[in-house]
């Protein structure tokens, strides 16, 4: 952690994520208004003392909606990534540990899936499953799975011929023990780095699906949905669109910077 905070990129990412974490945990408590409360006489107002970021088309306080929306937006990013890591990591671990024909079969299938861009893949899945936050999260997790499986497998391949693995096998440990207790703990670091960066992509994909009407649905305060709902009014109050847009950008930037720093710190070639 100390190394991370000494790293300029890591420090910037940590600061941004600390801000986002505060919003996620305490947002609903510190929001000045109920995020759904109408103020019909104050519609589409610019920033003021009463409404720091102005109001939307219903007269709802934009700041309160941003603070409340942090939870759904960040939880979406974390949830989709963790699900993708769990599924992709397990597949990569099995493919790498077993090897042979099973490995080849799994990896060719995943190569095929990797050829489809993430956004297209998620759109395809959401179209089949139907919209909504749950399906959108599942779609992003599935889209992430092939890439994460490939990283997990390559890490397993580099670990499985190491001395401590061979020693465990020589001791007569079961394959399950070898995978779970010897190989897996040594593959986690690169996956964490990759996952941290992918959270930012997941946030942006979630916001994109929300914007397209395929993710969170009204009256959710999810940031992508906020942009979609306010888009028609952006000429009358640009902050309606700009505020959730900046929030998405900062959250994505925070995870990206942190991921970059973690990669630098865990990559032996990058150490000076």
């Amino acid at each position: 952690m100390r190394d991370l905070l000494r790293h300029p990129t890591g420090l910037a990412g940590a600061v941004l994520l600390a801000l986002i974490a505060v919003m996620t945990i305490f947002g609903p408590l510190i929001a000045p208004y109920d995020p759904q409360q109408f103020h019909p006489l104050s519609r589409l107002q610019g920033p003021s003392v009463a409404y720091w970021l102005g109001t939307d088309q219903f007269g709802r306080d934009i700041l309160s909606r941003i603070l409340n929306g942090a939870r759904s937006t960040i939880l979406f990013g974390l949830g989709a990534t963790m699900a993708g890591v769990a599924a992709g990591g397990a597949i990569g671990l099995i493919a790498g540990a077993i090897g042979g024909a099973v490995d080849s079969l799994i990896m060719r299938l995943l190569d095929g899936l990797l050829a489809v861009p993430d956004l297209l893949f998620t759109l395809l899945i959401v179209t089949v499953l139907g919209g909504g936050s749950g399906h959108a999260m599942l779609a992003v997790a599935i889209a992430f799975m092939p890439g994460l499986a490939r990283i997990a497998r390559s890490t397993v391949l580099s670990v499985r011929t190491r001395e401590f693995v061979l020693a465990a096998q020589a001791r007569g440990e079961s394959p399950v023990y070898v995978i779970a207790c010897e190989i897996m703990p040594n593959t986690i670091a690169p996956i964490i780095v990759e996952a941290t960066i992918r959270v930012s992509f997941a946030i942006m994909l979630g916001a994109t699906l929300g914007f397209l009407g395929l993710g969170a649905q009204p009256p959710s305060t999810e940031w992508g949905l906020m942009i979609a709902e306010a888009r028609q009014y952006m000429f009358r109050n640009p902050i309606c669109v700009a505020a959730p847009g900046v929030a998405i950008a900062l959250a994505a930037l925070g995870f990206n910077l942190l991921g970059d720093a973690l990669r630098d710190l865990t990559d032996p070639r990058g150490r000076r």
């Binding site: 759904q36 409360q37 109408f38 019909p40 519609r43 088309q57 219903f58 007269g59 139907g130 919209g131 909504g132 009407g213 395929l214 649905q217 009204p218 009256p219 709902e229 888009r231 028609q232 009014y233 000429f235 009358r236």
Partner: protein, 518 residues
């Protein structure tokens, strides 16, 4: 056969038809032409919803209505003044009790494939609509037709099962345009992609995901029209992109303008916003064969928990009028002026307590995500009804899911409907027991009887009285909350002349449109 008295509507329409033949455009309720029309040019119209089909007997989308209005003609057509105007019929007459109608057809009219239009085509079209297999929305509207027969090639006789003075209006239904008898002998699915009508424009190309291109029908039955050489309908699923394309001059007219953009579009240089009062409405469906809405006090409490003027302001941006749960808007002939329930959360809360909900009522309200106005109304009503004790959980879902799981089945959801041509059509669309979409399950025998009686009554004053009673019942029982009537908003570049709005948004008179370009 006895002619109806001159005061009766059908006779008036017939008279108008026969006296105004020299200049039919005025007889058809078209706008007064500005300047001398110029021929030529291509009109590019943008629209946000797909033209999924060209099947005139089945279509129901906003852009599809425009397409078939240009491709097909009906016996009659509804003018912007909400009166039935002659189209393929030159004139009509009815017997004294309005049970038998004779329509004289326009001679020398041909379909786009060159085949002549005759009474047999009318008979074939009506009989196809009456066949349940056609799945035509016009079927219910024309259900009173017992028999239709060709008297001669240019005369058609309709025999009705009960008196119905509004038959010429019902025949103007957007899905009752005339298709050739020969086409109808083949599979109806052929109509989905290939149109062969008698309208002012002919189909040139059709890509439902992008563009419908039509070209002038030189054999159109109105001499000298259409003025345009071609019309292109461009699909813009993204509303912001559609607006920007219009403002940049890439298209000449917008079929629909969103309320949020209307002021900006109307005041943009070279742009004209067209606002037409309409009876289009959103309704809060409260299914009455289930608790809690089987109790009229709960429905009345809901009605009092909705601030209608505020809804008009925040949802419609002022482009509409508050309504009082009566489906009949000021554009209809027999409107009963009633006062909308006042927003009174305290009284609503008291009523809710009397109905057995002293601690309020927690209930999910389902909204389709298309069009956005449904969820906007849901969100607004949630907040407005909160002080009255309604704890509403707004659940927005994809339109397909809504159609499959909620529509016609759900207990509490948001509907969205266009204006109808007559009171009878409005009542039988949603509210009678045998309505095409009876989703409120009101099932009021008293209301059904009044609607049936009104349909069979010829005397105008008597009919007004009957329909007034029906509307009073609707206001009393609140089968659904109808909070406002929404205006129809369109726009055109200033060089586009005679582009008109229509309260029904189903008739467009594009044959009168011309381009005043140098």
């Amino acid at each position: 056969m006895t002619q109806l008295p001159i005061t009766r509507r059908s006779a008036l329409a017939g008279l108008a038809a026969t006296t105004a033949l020299p200049d039919l455009s005025f007889a058809q309720g078209a706008p007064k032409s500005v300047g001398t029309p110029k021929s030529g040019g291509t009109l590019k119209i943008s629209h946000p919803t797909r033209v999924a089909s060209l099947n005139v007997l089945q279509i129901s989308g906003p852009a599809e209505y425009l397409a078939v209005d240009m491709l097909y003609s009906g016996l009659t057509r509804m003018g912007p003044d909400m009166r039935a105007q002659p189209d393929l019929a030159l004139e009509w007459s009815a017997d004294a009790d309005a049970k038998s109608f004779v329509f004289k057809l326009r001679p020398n009219v041909s379909f786009h494939d060159g085949k002549p239009f005759t009474a047999e085509d009318v008979v074939a079209t009506i009989k196809t609509i009456q066949d349940p297999k056609s799945a035509s929305p016009a079927r219910t509207v024309l259900s009173m037709i017992g028999d239709v027969a060709a008297v001669d090639p240019l005369t058609v006789k309709f025999t009705l099962t009960s008196s119905y003075a509004d038959l010429p209006i019902s025949l103007a239904h957007a899905n009752a345009r005339i298709v050739s008898a020969e086409t109808l002998k083949g599979p109806l699915t052929a109509l989905d992609t290939k149109a062969n009508g008698t309208g002012p424009f002919k189909q040139e190309s059709f890509d439902s995901a992008r563009l419908l291109k039509l070209v002038k029908n030189p054999a159109y039955h109105q001499p000298g029209k259409p003025y345009l050489d071609a019309v292109e309908m461009h699909l813009f699923p993204d509303l912001a992109a559609e607006t920007q394309n219009y403002l940049s001059g890439a298209v000449d007219a917008m079929l629909e303008v969103q309320q949020a953009d209307f002021k900006r579009i109307s005041t943009a240089p070279g742009s004209v916003g067209v606002r037409t009062p309409s009876g289009r409405f959103v309704n809060v469906v409260m299914r009455q064969d289930q608790k809690p809405f089987d109790d009229v006090r709960v429905r009345r409490a809901m009605a009092m928990a909705v601030d209608r003027p505020t809804l008009v302001d925040i949802i419609l941006e002022g482009y509409g009028r508050p309504a009082g749960d009566n489906v009949i808007s000021p554009g209809y002939r027999y409107l009963l002026e009633t006062t909308a329930p006042k927003y009174d959360p305290a009284a609503a809360k008291k009523l809710l307590a009397e109905a057995g909900y002293p601690n309020g009522l927690k209930i999910p309200l389902i909204c389709s995500n298309r069009p956005a106005i449904r969820s906007q109304v849901g969100i607004a009503i949630k907040e407005m009804a909160k002080p009255a004790g309604f704890d509403i959980d707004v659940q927005t879902m994809p339109h397909d899911t809504y159609l499959a799981n909620v529509w016609m089945k759900g207990q509490f959801y948001i509907g969205y409907w266009g204006m109808q041509s007559t009171e009878d059509q409005a009542f039988t669309l949603l509210f009678t027991t045998d309505a095409a979409f009876a989703d409120t399950a009101w099932n009021s025998k008293e209301f059904d009887a009044l609607v049936a009686k009104g349909r069979a009554t010829i005397d105008d004053a008597e009919r007004r009285k009957i329909y007034a009673e029906a509307q009073a019942l609707m206001v009393r029982d609140v089968p659904s909350v109808i909070p406002f009537f929404q205006d129809v908003l369109t726009a055109n570049r200033s060089y586009v002349k005679n582009w008109v709005g229509h309260p029904l948004a189903r008739y467009f008179f594009v044959e009168n449109v011309w381009l005043d370009k140098a």
